[in-house]
């Protein structure tokens, strides 16, 4: 019986997805758990693994097609079920080899070493060519691997015993070269199936504590991507999702944390520009938005439409901070930047002003326990806000290191959703462009956003009425008036100023 492959739900807010690339050709062999297709969601480009074995008898959705969740994108079944125009399957070597290669690579990425070895054995067997022999080799390899794993339930199986079992698996066809696990390790790991098994009907791989928390917080596990070993959903993933979606939210809330591509394996490709006929404005180039750009535009509009915001500004004398940074440079690498100092000062002030570290949501204030500061970063042709978790508990040096590391990840597109969510407050800095002062749009549902202008020497009046040159910088706080009133915001901002003007307190 042929089965339909439908557009999977790969993120909690996904409604539709775009097929980027089929990883198996029509007529090619598909193996459960191995990569089938790359799909672009609103948040990331993700590889979707097949959930059944068989032949890809029909590709319904072509590369570039966008379909709603649940719509059929392909059919998998017996080669005999292929419709008239289906390609002959199995007989040609090309697709089989391609699949074997792809399988090996993906398994290496997604699964533990043992899985990778198994896949290599299969690849070796497949390269021999014949479809039947291939099937046998796979069965044998799988059976032997399972057996080896069963035997390996203890911690330290004699390496020789495992080596034999595996050697046998590869030796069956002469094609695969298999190796025993190093055995010198300490605890045998279980085989990690690829993917988190978010597909319909398949058990989602999640740790017990993640399951319990998901139940308590009303987070749907199938919507999460696991960051644990073998793609397991772990506690941190559920926490991040709960903070992002609002605890106990049963349905996808309107305002979720802004997230960006997780493991963008490829560049997020902006669709090809189109051109319209020339009008009074001349020819217009029409650009489709990437998913990330769509998310940004939707959430920014939501924020402006729902949050009654106001902004307040002040100027901070940074002369001592400049002096401090000069000294820190001599001892710290990376030396904390002024932005890191702002993050640290804000974190300290947030602990003293709980409403700033909160959100207005559904007629209630939510005050957060953790102080997680998002740092707006222009990247990926959009805006991405990685989070510095528990910034109030981190030293200035640690904040500098963490910020550098996560921004690096944003820039090389290896940042993961948990690292982009869970923020309780945001800092946005355009000082590097010489912007002296600006307001920003609140990152909903947060209560406010702090903007940082350029630091420059400017005239100031000292205590004796003389005009002196001082390093100065403007800070603005844009507040959601539903939770943060003028005086609250002003006290918070004044405290940030105070901390920055006595920066030694930040270096503690």
């Amino acid at each position: 019986m042929a089965s339909d492959v439908t557009m999977p739900r790969l993120s909690d807010s996904m409604e539709e997805g775009t097929v980027l690339k089929w990883l198996v050709d029509e007529g090619g062999e598909v193996k459960r758990g191995e990569p089938l297709v790359e799909i672009e969601t609103d948040k990331a480009n993700m590889t979707y693994d097949a959930d059944t074995d068989g032949t890809l008898i029909e590709v319904v959705a072509q590369e570039g097609d966008t379909l709603a969740i649940g719509e059929v994108i392909a059919r998998i079944g017996d080669p005999s079920e292929a419709s008239g125009n289906g390609k002959p399957s199995g007989g040609t070597e090309a697709p089989a080899e391609e699949e074997a290669d792809g399988g090996g690579e993906e398994a290496g990425e997604d699964a533990g070493d043992e899985e990778a070895e198994g896949a290599e054995a299969e690849a070796g067997a497949t390269a021999e060519g014949e479809a039947e022999a291939e099937g046998e080799a796979e069965d044998e390899a799988a059976a032997a691997a399972e057996k080896a794993d069963g035997d390996g339930a203890g911690d330290e199986e004699p390496a020789a015993a495992r080596g034999e079992a595996r050697g046998g698996a590869g030796g069956g066809d002469g094609g695969g070269e298999t190796q025993a696990g190093d055995g010198g390790g300490t605890a045998t790991r279980t085989r990690a199936p690829t993917g988190n098994g978010a597909g319909d009907g398949e058990r989602v791989k999640a740790s017990p504590v993640a399951r319990r928390m998901a139940r308590e917080l009303g987070v749907e596990l199938a919507r999460l991507e696991g960051s644990g070993p073998g793609g397991r959903i772990v506690k941190a993933d559920v926490q991040a999702a709960a903070e992002g979606d609002g605890a106990a939210a049963k349905e996808a809330p309107p305002a979720e944390e802004e997230r960006a591509p997780a493991e963008a394996r490829e560049e997020e490709r902006a669709p090809e520009p189109q051109r319209t006929e020339a009008g009074a404005k001349g020819e217009a180039e029409i650009q489709e938005l990437t998913r990330l750009q769509q998310t940004v535009s939707r959430r920014m509009a939501e924020s402006k439409a729902t949050a009654p915001d106001f902004s307040i500004s002040l100027t901070v004398d940074m002369t001592e901070a400049v002096e401090l940074r000069k000294r820190l440079k001599e001892v710290a690498d990376p030396a904390p930047s002024f932005n890191d100092m702002v993050v640290k000062a804000a974190a300290t002030a947030l602990t003293e002003h709980p409403r700033v570290n909160g959100a207005y949501r559904d007629g209630k204030f939510e005050l957060y326990e953790r102080v997680n500061i998002g740092v707006a970063v222009a990247a990926m042709d959009a805006l991405v806000v990685p989070t510095i978790f528990d910034a109030d508990q981190k030293s200035l040096g640690r904040i500098a290191r963490d910020a550098r590391a996560v921004i690096e990840k944003v820039r090389d597109k290896t940042v993961t959703p948990p690292e982009l969510s869970g923020g309780t407050f945001t800092v946005s800095n355009l000082g590097m462009f010489g912007i002296e002062h600006f307001t920003a749009i609140i990152n909903p549902p947060q209560a406010s956003i702090l903007t940082v202008g350029a630091l420059a020497k400017k005239p100031a009046v000292d205590d004796n009425g003389r005009i002196v040159a001082r390093d100065q910088m403007s800070l603005s706080l844009v507040c959601d008036h539903r939770i943060l009133y003028g005086a609250d915001g002003a006290q918070f901002l004044a405290r940030v100023k105070e901390l920055l003007e006595q920066p030694l307190s930040l270096a503690l």
Partner: protein, 327 residues
């Protein structure tokens, strides 16, 4: 607080208990004239005389059997067996008699016997002298089992073992005899069933048995320095009774557990503890419980092979990291 070696702390415990209670006496091979294979009984023959410090023939089952009999008639014998491997010769007396008699006689008699023995690898003593068998004794109802890893615990737990009315298997470690540590002056007996938290941490619970409590602590320091993993290290100190509450409380906090022991993996202390943890804290686990154990082979004589056959810091570090991500 005075600092002393593990063997000196044991010696002090024996001396103090012998001074305090004249029913306490020692038996064992070479413990008198030779002052003990590991010098734990140094000076005691001279101080207490042949009646209370008795050299015995090489016959472990008989030595323990005499201990059982004398304990049944009201004495408090402390029997030394030269290594844990030799204690297997006395299994009949330990399991069939010492552990069962109080139960078989409906509580009419008790067996306040202590059987001391060292275990552990690292001295090239080969497969007949170097094993770690706490799991064997943990298996037996009726026995208390102590596995002290510090001089202070060695002293406090030995004093408690001697005072206890139940048979106690007191497992020392050959590598630890020379280790120094602070021991409280005039310290009394410790309580069995109270684990020590050797290092507080938030990220992963590492439970180290016997010497592996020390290895776990060193691993925890490296995890903090090199991997930003803040491990909590627990030394159960006694396996029966076991302070499971402290372990569960920690696991519920960290959501991860690694158990480190020197003995074999199958049916080991870690296997048992992993079962208890998953039974009682399943919903708090964020990763499978990891075990780090000795290799599943007889202890090799060859130095490099012997070193490879019991856990070191790097194994503990790898196991701890494996609770977070693929390695």
């Amino acid at each position: 607080m005075p600092t002393m070696r593990y063997r000196e702390a044991l010696n002090q415990a024996l001396r103090e208990e012998m001074e305090a209670d004249e029913t306490v006496f020692l038996m064992g091979e070479d413990i008198g004239v030779f002052q003990g294979a590991f010098k734990v009984t140094q000076g005691l023959l001279e101080e207490f005389g042949e009646k209370r410090v008795r050299d015995t023939p090489i016959s472990e089952n008989t030595i323990v059997g005499m201990g059982v009999g004398s304990a049944m008639i009201g004495l408090r014998p402390v029997v030394e067996l030269m290594t844990v491997n030799f204690s297997l010769l006395a299994m009949d007396q330990i399991v069939n008699h010492a552990a069962a008699i109080r139960y078989m006689f409906g509580g009419q008699v008790k067996v306040p016997l202590v059987v001391r023995m060292p275990q552990g690898a690292g001295h090239q003593l080969g497969p007949t002298h170097s094993h770690s068998f706490e799991a064997f004794y943990l298996h037996v109802p009726g026995l208390l089992v102590a596995v002290p890893s510090t001089p202070a615990d060695a002293k406090g737990l030995l004093k408690a073992a001697i005072k206890d009315d139940n048979p106690v298997i007191f497992i020392e470690h050959e590598t630890l005899y020379g280790q120094r540590g602070e021991v409280p002056e005039n310290g009394g007996p410790m309580r069995f069933g109270e684990a020590a938290i050797r290092r507080e941490g938030e990220d992963v619970t590492i439970i180290g048995i016997s010497r592996m409590a020390i290895t776990a602590q060193k691993a925890a320091e490296k995890l903090a320095e090199e991997h930003e993993i803040d491990a909590e290290v627990i030394d159960p100190r006694t396996l029966r009774p076991l302070d499971l509450d402290t372990i569960l409380e920690s696991v519920k906090k960290t959501n991860r557990a690694v158990i480190v022991e020197e003995g074999w993996p199958h049916g080991g202390v870690g296997a048992n503890l992993a079962a208890l943890i998953q039974e009682q804290a399943f919903d708090w686990l964020d990763a499978p419980v990891q075990r780090v154990t000795g290799a599943d082979v007889p202890m090799p004589y060859s130095k490099p092979l012997e070193q490879a056959a019991f856990p070191h810091e790097e194994h503990v570090i790898q196991a701890a990291i494996a609770t977070f991500r693929d390695i």
